[in-house]
Symmetry: C2
């Protein structure tokens, strides 16, 4: 299957698993490119700048007018130079920005003072090329850690980047941020707001939560609504908590993670406190959740996509702690890989997670099949469990019986291929 | 190599890496069994009771007289029935006990009320067999989670267990607690106390920190000193923090973990506040550290033993957090497996650990070779790094440059064999 077809097929399956809020309609991007997909008011581009030998490695997302912009960043203390610069620029521009410039093939991470100079150069080149202020540019990088960025190649590629740009070049842009990804990840929704129809679209990359050879999870989104920067930031943060922050491939947080959104203001208004703001937030969560799930499906060595639902915790925080501990447990992930209904590993992970409960109250479901009932009753059908675990995607639901707290996270299995990908030499 | 030879060879290598406190001499147990190894005042036994088809699966450690006894237990909320009972018995007997009874092949975990009845039966049978009170018996189990213990087999085996017992049957005992272990793990030291020479010896099992098919890390130790139970408990807790709590194979904490020590009182006195108490504590740490390291060496699928030294943290707690995050990172562990000097993964793990530091102050050493110098200077020799990483055992030292806090933990690599062992069906 071609990478874009692989992507469309994965998106279709995920959409079938998704409950869409009223007024939100999924848009599976048309791989033939006949239908316009990207929201109005933007220019995109993706080219090869020579950092990678052949594949695209430089991406531009430009708003035609000043755009409300929001972004969330990695919490890793070893954050990369572009993350530091982008944080500063977002603050300096009060969240009204014009462009995102992103390269792949080099993370510009652990590169010290020179790294920051190089990131600034990327912003300055983009600004000069399009008549912007440097602080109106977000900068992102992804690739090898600890090697200086060949920034001259990026500077020299600005004319080519402009020449290749267009309002619907999202395919090139989505490809240009890929590293170990096996397919590009783009998705969008239409939203029926009170002031008319609006769109959110975005693309993401990521294959391990971190793969410092080829570092980072990145996502860039755009919408045509008119919205103040602070509200956009709040909605992005909330959506991020239930999407990109709810996935794990290997529990490792990258030095370069970043998810940003720009709003062109061409479409209907989204005002604080309105029903539209709630709906827009839900729609944004939907888009980011599908993108996040695509990252898990494309997880390094992954053969299975598993939703972990944790109910009945004392709080949502405890539910999340327990869900993430299950999702990251090597023993649970290898059992999923081996299609082994080893529920003991699941409750042992919950038991060490820090969440509070009494073990006699625990229950575990695979899809709708009870595996462990309260009272530690594990009288389940091995055959039925095996049938569920042999699927590409299924849900593990754990109920603690200790309160109203709940969380949902997504993970994949742990396979020999993960060891192969990550045990190999950096070159 | 025979399992006991494999064990002796691993112990010799670990002893060479160890700095022994003055007055503490390592005793590598004599596999031929000519020299007496176990401290005076105990009886040991190990037999097959029929829980496993052929291999030994039932162990007894008995003190000839009431013995000061201390034990630490898993913190997993899904703790097994024998853990619950042993905690209660240790309290009921005020730390003066007579015996440990332990089976392998079944963890008696997640077995509810019946599990507790079965654990009590094990204590009652042992007590009846040797004229003890049931609350003078510690009970431990290791093996499959979630299946009822075939306790009748244990009851019926009491005469055979007694018949096979003797004062130097530590080989049988060490074998009887094994599950996925590929070799038995026994070690001891002589201590030059002011009142004369004393001995600590013990054996352990464990291969994953948890492998709920074949659950648990267990250790049973004995000494001939005379010591009050509370002091013994304090010294055991302190030794445990730097030994069994400083190793990780896969970050999963078992439902059945337990480490216990009995003191027969035949040898010299160890009094609270004395130099002897300090030396005894150091000696106990040494024995438990070697046993802990043997568990890592025998870690599921492990091909390399790696010491992670974390220096320069704001506190010992932060150092431990950072060291454990490095030691558990799948990306670090796969890089170790692939002999790839991917220092970016190490500092990325430190960066997400929660420990505070400034990335420009970081340094990383492999053995004595600098890999990353402060200022993010990674001008190291790939050849030298490769040479170190190709060894069976080496040390990664990370210095945060942020204070006096330090920690040492031990881990192994993550290999395809781990996936094979843990992806296979429970049977």
């Amino acid at each position: 299957m071609e990478p874009f077809e692989k992507s469309a097929s994965a998106i279709k399956k995920l959409c079938d698993r998704t409950v869409w809020p009223d007024g939100v309609s999924p848009i599976i991007p048309d791989v033939t490119g006949v239908d316009p997909f990207w929201p109005a008011g933007f220019v995109l581009s993706g080219i090869n700048s020579g950092i990678k030998p052949v594949r695209k490695d430089l991406m531009l997302l430009l708003s035609e007018a000043p755009a409300s912009t929001a972004s969330v960043f990695t919490t890793n203390l070893c954050c990369a130079a572009p993350v530091e610069l982008s944080k500063a620029n977002l603050a300096a521009s009060s969240g009204v920005m014009r462009a995102v410039i992103c390269n792949s093939g080099n993370a510009n991470a652990a590169t010290g003072a020179k790294g920051l100079i190089d990131a600034r150069q990327m912003a300055a080149d983009t600004a000069a090329s399009w008549g912007l202020k440097p602080e109106e540019v977000l900068v992102a990088s992804t690739g090898v850690i600890g090697q200086l960025l060949p920034v001259a190649k990026i500077s020299e590629s600005m004319p080519a980047l402009e020449a290749a740009s267009g309002s619907d070049q999202w395919r090139d842009a989505a490809e240009a941020i890929m590293t170990t990804d096996t397919f590009p990840k783009a998705f969008g929704v239409d939203i029926a707001l009170s002031g008319g129809s609006a769109r959110i679209a975005g693309f993401a990359k990521g294959s391990g939560m971190i793969c410092p050879n080829m570092a980072t999870m990145l996502a860039f989104l755009a919408t045509d609504v008119s919205i103040e920067p602070l509200l956009l930031q709040e909605l992005l943060g909330a959506a991020n908590a239930v999407s990109f922050n709810a996935i794990t491939v290997d529990g490792d947080t990258s030095t370069n993670d970043m998810a940003a959104i720009m709003a062109s203001g061409r479409g209907p208004k989204v005002l604080r406190g309105s029903d539209d703001a709630i709906l827009f937030g839900e729609a944004l969560s939907s888009v980011m959740t599908i993108l996040a799930q695509l990252i898990v499906i494309d997880g390094e060595g992954a053969t299975k996509f598993v939703e972990i639902r944790l109910n009945g915790a004392a709080s949502d925080d405890e539910a999340r702690m327990a869900a993430m501990t299950v999702a990251n447990s090597p023993l649970v992930k290898t059992a999923i890989h081996g299609q082994d209904a080893n529920w003991g590993r699941i409750i042992a992970a919950v038991g060490r997670s820090g969440a509070s409960f009494v073990q006699e109250e625990l229950s575990v479901f695979f899809d709708s099949e009870p595996i462990l009932k309260p009272g530690l009753d594990a009288g389940f059908s091995e055959e039925e469990a095996k049938k569920i675990m042999s699927k590409d995607a299924f849900t593990i639901t754990v109920t603690l019986g200790n309160g109203p707290g709940k969380a949902v996270v997504w993970t994949c299995d742990l396979s020999k291929r993960y060891i192969e990908i990550n045990g190999s030499y950096r070159s």
